[in-house]
Symmetry: C2
Subunit: 128 residues, 2 copies
């Protein structure tokens, strides 16, 4: 979900729910952007995602839990926006905390992987 503290390596964490439903980086980022932009379409754009794709992810998020994660607000000139529910805020905070805790916990292991990893080659994509 985020670049690892002092490391060149990134930790990607995903929770698999029964039924093949996943809670990972994509949904967490989408929650972050909805929180920031107040809009599902703006959040989707920020992630280079179609509105349809963003909407489907929000719909999945809203059906993964007993309570909705994102709520749409109708009305206004731009047809209303979207926001995280109180539960959504709690979920996002918890996912961030999990990420921080995990990075801290396996810091030594990341350092070990880093020490042993092969050095950069020209075949590496610079954007990574």
């Amino acid at each position: 979900m985020k670049k690892t503290g002092g490391h060149e390596l990134k930790i990607i964490l995903r929770v698999d729910f029964p039924g093949g439903i996943r809670l990972g980086r994509g949904k967490v980022q989408l929650m972050e952007f909805i929180r920031e932009t107040g809009s599902i379409s703006a959040a989707g754009r920020a992630m280079d995602m179609s509105y349809r794709r963003a909407w489907l992810l929000v719909d999945e998020l809203n059906h993964m839990f007993r309570q909705p994660v994102v709520e749409s607000q109708r009305g206004g000139k731009q047809g209303g926006g979207a926001a995280l529910t109180a539960f959504g805020e709690e979920l996002l905070a918890r996912m961030h905390a999990v990420q921080t805790t995990v990075i801290k916990t396996i810091d030594t292991d990341l350092a070990w992987l880093e020490k042993h990893r092969a050095t950069m080659t020209t075949s590496e994509k610079p954007e990574d």
Copy 2:
């Protein structure tokens, strides 16, 4: 990499190296099966993977680190087998330890997610 202890949710952990190279569930499982079967093709079969795909993953593993992870043994009637190197064994043990530590560390968060997750619906695939 493994079903979470007492939880219905699974934690999937992946480490992203620079250059878009990933160390996650697939490579860890492949190492486990190579260790178990002593063969890249048998390991690939166990994972429903073509020999080519298994071989490419092994090749990637062997170039991610300063030292090789898997070594091929030539000779013998079946054209030799494969095994983890001492470094590969250490890597696998470390990845298992990371997985165990992470599950233990975020146990409370997994329990929270589980408590709040929506109950099963008929649209869920039974194999999950």
